[in-house]
Amino acid sequence: MGSPLALAPLLAVTAGALAVLLLEAFLRKKDSEAPAALTVAALLTAGFFTVLSWGEPGLGAFGGRLVLDPLARFLIVIFVALGVFVALMGLKYAARMGLALGPFCGLLLLAVAGLMIMVSTGDWLVVFLGLEVLSVSSYALTGLRLRDRTSSEAAAKYFLMGSFAAAFFVFGLALVFGTSGRLELGSGVPGAAALAGLGLIVSALFFKIAVAPFHMWAPDVYEGAPTPVTVFLTIAPKAAGLAVLLRALSPILRAEGAAAVLSPALSAAAVLTMFAGNLAALRQTSLKRLLAYSSIAHSGYLLVAVVARDAAGLVFYAAVYLFMNAGAFGVLIALSGRGFERTSLDDIAGLGRRKPWLAAPLAIFLLSLAGFPPTAGFLAKFYVFGAAVREGHIALTVAAVLASLVSVAYYLKVIVAMYMREGEAEQEPWLEEPALYLVVFLCLFGVVELGLWPGNLLTIIRQALPGFF
């Protein structure tokens, strides 16, 4: 039953993490880029193994605790891609910002390992373990800029709130296991106590996904963390948490009893998240914090996919969101100077004139985040909202659409700053960071390609996953 192939991706990543950390010990010159290269290599091998076993149905390991089914495979490919992007972004950033590249890469790989565990299991305990591996490495990653006050503050807040939520997860776990004795996700309709337990677990996951009102930690942590880490935090934990929710809740959502209450609750949470994220972003003056709130809003849109039980839509949205968000933050990183980050809207005033080749991609990413048609962002929203309407959640879709309208306001505000305001004319030199520009280009390509000809990706998704489109 336990075929080695199921474990291969996970092993590749963990081995890579250990290797990077060991390398750190033996390395002579401090600023070498070896750790990043090793990370990328590890991630790519993991990706290769995942793709290798694409055809077969679920590959089990650890007595069925770890299962590599299609949803897991897709998400792992997304996490691998994200990992590569973050590593490449962090390459020069680390040197500039006084960030140790070795630990950065090591922790990144561990976090990816945590993600892999979370998404490829049907067992709550393993989910908990994956979640904790991810969380712990994320706390460390957030606080990696040791001399920077905001980084440490963000890490402290993240750690305390994270462990606080973990405690709820454990207590929920206890209730669920205690009463029903079974740990499988989505295991039928539990009794009242078990339902309470499930509620606690879902609340903890809501924390991780930054669903309102559990999202309060997110803006501060995203803003405080080094930007490459922010990229990681705004995308990965959400996708993983939502995948788990999808696995756990879709069987329950369909059943009559509990569903009668769960679906409206989830919908309410989704609407709350969307509006909280979008409204809070309206008056932001820092681009980084604005993008942080925008990512909270996108958690809301992703939650709509869960409510609509649309795995395909979720995966497609996650992929598109990876490109949009990573691209936007990538441009943000490209703007930062030596030792300080330029994130305020005034910094990017008149960027359209000063650096058109940076302003244009950011504009396209923002338009895609806002959901303007020719871009992939629109298509992703189209599929998710379409699935919600097909499931009859028309009110939810109307709310989501209105929330998107609010989001258009602040995305365009950034474009106004870049193109329609005159910034100071001095020309900063271009940062020679080929890796970063590669990432931005890949994201740009992703957003445009998925927007216009996503044909092949869609067919693969449709074959593998149930869903509306």
Binding site: K157, F168, A196, F206, P213, M216, A258, A280, L282, A409
Partner: protein
Amino acid sequence: MAEAFWLIPLIPGAGALVLLLFGSRMPRRWVSWQSTLAVLASFVLSAAGFARLVRAGPDAPALAKTLLPWIASGSFVAEFAFSFDRLSAVMALVVTGVGLLIHVYSVGYMAGDKAYARYFAYLNLFMFFMLVLVTASDIVLMFIGWEGVGLCSYLLIGFWFDRPAAAKAGLKAFVVNRVGDAAFIVGLLFLLTAVGDPSFAAINAAPAAGLVGPGLATLAAVLLFVGATGKSAQIPLYVWLPDAMEGPTPVSALIHAATMVTAGVYMVSRLGGLFAASPAASAVVAWTGGLTAVFAATVALVQTDIKRVLAYSTISQIGYMFLGCGVGACAAGMFHLFTHAFFKSLLFLAAGSVIHALGGEQDMRRMGGLRKRLPVTFPAFLVGAMAIAGVPFLSGFFSKDAILTSAFAGGHYVLYGLGLAGAVLTAFYVFRMVFLTFYGEPRAAGAHPRVRESPPVMTVPLVILAALSALAGLAGLPVLLGGRADLFGRFLEGVVVRTAHRLAASSEVLLILAAAASALAGIYLAFVFYRGSPALPARSAARFPRLYRLLTGKYYVDEAYEAAIVRPLVRGAELVYRRFDLEVVDGALNASAAAARGAGQGLNTVQSGLLRDYALAFLLGVVIFLGALLL
């Protein structure tokens, strides 16, 4: 040659196009020759057409020619279809004939003007539209001419556009015309929906064919007539004509005396079938005509600007024409139109010659004693004055008499009384004008040093028109006075509805005497006032101060329109714009945007940065979520 009647409008049209595009680059002689020849060509073609119709006898079919389909969509069809029957012939002859003389006159009058080519271009354009109006065989095509002449009158009134008064007058003319045209269109819609076929023949036949009931006929006819009041300057839409005097005098002569303003009368005659089918509408026409005749005449009594007097006189005379049509005697109306075209354009051109001689002076109080200095203009003016006053055996007498006789015969005694009173007033103000301008001592000789007679190019048309004014009456000589019976009336027999009232010879003689008496009374009164005891006008004005001020203020109609319609509309619009557009709709938009920003601001303050608050929110979330799940 007559078959090419449809060229009548197109020749001046082509001329206008050439002048508009290349006029400024052509030498002046070319411009004047080309434009005049174009009108001459049309005149010749009209005459040929007229001759063909006379030869062919009363019941011969009209010449007809459909050039091209125009608008066709579903049941709405309109074509470029022209026809030339006896009514069109009369109108075409008048338009081209008087037009030709005025073109010649303009060569002299406009000699000094720098925009010479543009003037003649507009004049030719006007001829094109007017001739389209009279030769159109379907009502929609006529509407092209109808609004086209309105456009040309706008362009020509505002010809000297650098003078604000002229520009304002042009705008007023066009907009007031458009008010009439709006009513015209609604009437048109009623007709087209009921009849389906826009041609005049179909419309006139519709009441008989039961397509148009009496109610609908009345409604459509009245609406069309409101359009006519706009175009022909009757109550209530006459206010633009006095201001239209800002334009050059030949323009006033051609457009605001002889041709355009009579378009309304032509339309009413052309749709005789429709108007006959609804006595109510005819009554409206008659009464409007009658009241306007008297109303305008009273205002003309006290005007001091020579052209304003003539303007009000025109309004009054057209009132007579509508009076004629209203009482069922469109032939009489058309006959008065025919004669009026000659003596009114004569009076305008003569006035123009006076103004030209006095270097632009138009105020009669600063004229006087021009008899000797303008040897040709004065006699022409006198003939015109006698004609319009209704002095026996001149054209005015016969045409006005025909209308009054028809009114009396039709039993409209009140209208007859109005007509008679109007005749007296007309005679009075016309001869007041003659005495003030030509008799007595020059009141402001200093201001006009060299007063010389106008050049022949201006005086020759005056002489021709004087002759026509004198003799035109013979065309409609009533049977009684020995002429072959009513030549003009019989000519229009086939086309224009003519209710035949037979009056006893004796009463007809009485009517003729009454008409003659009214004319002479008017002239005598004017003589007494202005030649007999010069102080009399001042004393009578003093005795009735309020009446005098009312008349000189032209009954304050302009001010009433301004106060009742224009100002409230503009003030109301500004209020609505500020209240509704800016405050209500934009207010709602900005409010919702502010609400969103406010909510954002609220959320940002809640995001206090303190860990405690985050944990509290988390706890709250758990409690609510569990509550929802379990309860």
